[in-house]
Symmetry: C2
Subunit: 598 residues, 2 copies
């Protein structure tokens, strides 16, 4: 039968509990909810659960499923339920039932709460499976054979009801899918994700370092990570140069007055770093680059001839995230971004938005991103209080955004009532190489900056016009997220143009080191990033090290090469090596780098 | 006679006062000290001093000098002096004398205090010149004709004794030099300095903007300023790449623990931005890049094979300067610098220091700086409390620094007892194009970082060695100071390689705009920074505008050029234009840019 996956997973939790009950008759049960990809159950058997226990439980579950018991629902009075679990010695369940009876709620986490129907606390539902009976709202599959496939994969300690003063229970995690293929696919994805984990690769490839003494969420880019960053920034400067952007550099801090004008204060204050009181006012680290760019826009009178003005910056912003939530590059406190703000007239919005989309897709092509779609978030005329009151601008701009998406023939969805307060936006949605869907970036239209900052221009007739529209865009996400993404996307094997070390020169023996170094010098002078392995390791070991460091090109240098013969080139990940003249190798490499095709 | 210049200037102040006394018999006098380049006197004539008054006073001074009175010194009892100035109605002088008598000091500024000898308050000295008598310590020139040349050049309001509640006096400023030539030279320098003023040019050339709403001392680099910055940064990356530096990127903030370890806290606390208390500790904006670099050095075990490690960064640091002291780019609160730290063994100090010196002089050559010398600041064995207690390291390193300076055959001076607490340093002293001497940058040796941060490496025998020496260096000063310097140095006319706009394309008429734009596109695609003046101005006006913006190359595009003929090129500051084929122009320009020879 085609059950919702939650039915299967929750049923598997019951079957697991039944198997545990058979193996450990004295076992006490906490809660056993569905989680992403499977389920867990918190149990107390008076000792830690071992790997052997897990095997036995998995086997016991199979035995029960083979007997194919039904999941039998029973509605009983709460007092009868209390009596039953008391007799069974299930003290944890008893506690939940008593809470439910006296307080009308179990006041526990969302996961636990699903076992109890808050609408009906006079009676509760039980489910019986084999010899196991559980307090449970259901629903379940009809018979155990309908569960599908499952696999117990992890045990962790967990305090009862999440409180450190409570007894520690054992949380047994299981995966559960409808088919073997789905489980296998998920497991392969997990292995792939672990292999590509940006924290693991970030350390192995010496890309970045986060240090307790500097602070959580503050990334130190090591030489190799800084080299990749520089290439991404160079790409941005080059592409945006072609698209008519002007680059600026702005301070990382500003006075309170700026953020009061932009509206970040007081509304966004909790997400900003704490105030710094100086002798001439209160300063904050910036949470956005836009206010600084608006100041640059308006620092001199602007003529219609200058529009659109496109100000770009690899700018850094600061967010006061809670320290406990900080993790690797995905959640940090200081974020750089290839940010830009476009200042244009209303009749230029369409063109400018289209150019932003083209630029974005130009980036995607270079990085080989293919699975993307767009999400157009619109206002809602039914929720006028949520949106800046410019109905004509909303309708006009939403229409032109839609027109562009249609003209470009890209997949998109429209969502009502999801726009920002100050204008519609288009999110770029992307499916990662390991199947995770995420928002890569956002193009945001802004009707309100013109009012807040008094942005204006002088029109053809010499008159002041305050109808300046701002487009916020950062197609490469934040640099930190994007680097995490790139590391995962390439599994650390950056293409030639992007790699921190592009060419590893590997002398076969000591007598080839001198030639290796002169070759490296020649290649470096051409702007290539080269390293020489002049260690005393064997050449086999040198190759393995270079493979591990995922250097895109290796030049093995022995007697023939040092004697002026052709070069021996190994390409990362390819088993064979090839011979190629030095001139040809240089020409090919420079071309691949310039065109960013490898 | 060859008097010290202060004698002349102070005597000129007395002669000015004597002339004022003749012209305005009721004038009351405040103080009249020597200042840089001249002197002033604060006077009260009951109304503002006009330009006509200044001329009359200048003339009156000449008349007195022609009579050549002597400067007659007289020592009198303080009570006699009080009586004398009371009779003369000199209420301000009287106040000073009474203060001196009752408090033993005039408690006024250093400038005023020079009039009175604090060692001898029982009697005071007077000087008489013509009919003017002044309370004054002297000394003066013997006769008025020995003053030299002078020129009254400025009047400003000044409160008596600098207090706003006191009467406002008129401060008359005069220049004074021994010879006409010296005065002329100084005046020419002032005119030149005004023409080259980085604040004036920074605005005219749209290089940077400082905005009250963002905050004083926080520079917004406008597109043109950011372009120059990028070129300087590219130069640094290129040069330091050649010298084996690795670039890193570090956060602008860190936890208190880092700065306690480095020793910046608590000693440097007042100069740092205020603390930011977060949920996991206290954070500060960094005042130096070194602690972050030390963390990168020690983030992994280092082998002797890796040394020297050279970590470079265009890093930004923050200084909590008082808002009243902030001015243009010369005193700011956020400073970027082409910073680097070199980690090496003791026996590598000499080589590394020499390489730093070569790199520094390499920069100077590119920027055409010629008038420099070096200042070696050493410790003093007589002040052991001021210096880290490593006598061998002091002697060894001072010797190798000296050896390098001698080997390089550069001018240098040695100064005892001026080193930093943690090591000797070499300052690079430079005389600017308008004759001002300043410290361009510093190379600082550091014996203490190894101890504070536990810096170490594994030596040839596999043993840990903690003798890591650090060299701090930032040859291009801070970016802000350096930009102020470059603007002044080039009077805003940046060389081709550095200019924000390298080539201005100036169409003669509307019908040439299309060709101008396609030419600009072709040049831009080669990486050149080009702008087209497609305004409706006459070509003469366009040339004048481009000259004013100091664009290094102008291409005037008319019928012949648009028809495929040679290009007409004007070079900034050169009166003649030349004809040159497009291919030749491109080749020449690219060569000049790559070699940074224009």
């Amino acid at each position: 039968m085609d059950y919702p996956i939650e039915f299967r997973r929750h049923s598997a939790a019951h079957v697991m509990a039944a198997a545990i009950k058979q193996l450990f008759p004295e076992a006490k049960f906490g809660v056993g909810p569905v989680v992403e990809h499977g389920f867990y159950y918190d149990i107390d058997i008076g000792r830690p659960v071992t790997a052997e226990d897990l095997k036995a439980i998995q086997k016991g579950m199979q035995k029960i499923v083979n007997q194919n018991p039904a999941f039998v629902r029973e509605e009983v009075d709460i007092d009868d339920a209390i009596k039953l679990f008391d007799e069974l010695g299930q003290t944890y369940k008893l506690e939940l039932l008593n809470d439910l009876k006296t307080k009308g709620t179990t006041k526990v986490s969302v996961e636990e709460a699903q076992d109890i129907d808050p609408q009906n606390v006079g009676s509760v539902t039980l489910y019986r499976t084999a010899e196991f009976v559980d307090l449970c709202r259901g629903p379940h599959v009809t018979e155990a054979k309908d569960i599908g496939v499952w696999k117990l994969h992890k045990v962790a300690g967990a305090y009862w009801r999440g409180k450190e003063t409570n007894p520690q229970m054992q949380r047994i995690y299981g995966l559960c899918f409808a088919t073997k293929e789905e489980l296998a696919e998920y497991e392969a994805m997990v292995i792939e994700a672990e292999k590509r984990d940006h924290r693991k690769l970030g350390q192995e490839l010496e890309l970045f370092h986060i240090d307790e003494m500097v602070g959580k969420g503050l990334v130190l880019w090591l030489p190799k990570g800084a080299a990749v960053r520089q290439q991404v920034e160079n790409l941005a400067m080059e592409m945006e140069g072609e698209y008519g952007y002007e680059r600026v550099v702005t301070p990382h801090i500003a006075k309170e007055e700026l953020f009061l004008t932009s509206g970040h204060l007081p509304y966004y204050k909790d997400d900003m770093y704490p105030a710094m009181v100086m002798d001439d006012g209160t300063y904050y680290m910036k949470a956005m680059n836009c206010p600084h760019h608006h100041i640059i826009y308006r620092h001199k009178p602007r003529s219609y001839r200058e529009l659109p003005v496109r100000l770009a910056e690899y700018g850094t912003v600061y967010r006061n995230e809670r320290s406990g939530t900080l993790a690797g590059l995905l959640r940090v406190r200081a974020l750089a971004m290839n940010d830009a703000h476009i200042y244009c007239r209303k009749d230029q919005i369409k063109d400018e938005f289209k150019r932003v989309m083209e630029l974005t897709m130009g980036y995607f092509k270079i990085f080989g991103l293919e699975n993307f779609w767009f999400r157009l978030s619109k206002w809602s005329p039914d929720h006028l209080d949520k949106y800046v009151n410019e109905p004509d601008n909303w309708e006009y701009s939403q229409n032109v955004l839609r027109e562009v998406l249609i003209e470009m023939d890209v997949p998109f969805k429209e969502i009502d009532n999801e726009a920002a307060f100050y204008g519609p936006k288009v999110d770029v949605m992307f499916k990662s190489v390991i199947g995770r869907e995420e928002t890569m970036s956002t193009v945001q239209l802004d009707f309100i900056a013109k009012t807040r900052f008094g942005l204006e221009y002088t029109d053809e007739k010499g008159e002041k016009n305050g109808e300046i529209f701002v487009i916020h865009r950062a197609p490469l996400s934040t640099h930190e997220r994007f680097m995490a993404f790139l590391i995962e996307h390439y599994a650390g094997a950056f293409p030639l143009w992007l790699a921190p070390v592009q060419i590893a020169v590997l002398p076969v023996a000591d007598r080839h080191v001198e030639f290796a170094q002169s070759l490296a010098k020649e290649l470096s002078a051409l702007g290539l990033r080269v390293s020489v392995d002049d260690s005393t390791e064997s050449v086999g070991k040198k190759i393995r090290n270079a493979e591990k460091q995922k250097y895109p090109r290796m030049l093995v240098v022995g007697d023939r090469e040092a004697g002026g013969g052709a070069l021996t080139v190994r390409i990362h990940g390819e088993p064979d090596q090839q011979e190629i003249s030095k001139e040809e190798f240089i020409k090919k490499s420079l071309h691949e780098i310039k065109s960013r095709t490898a």
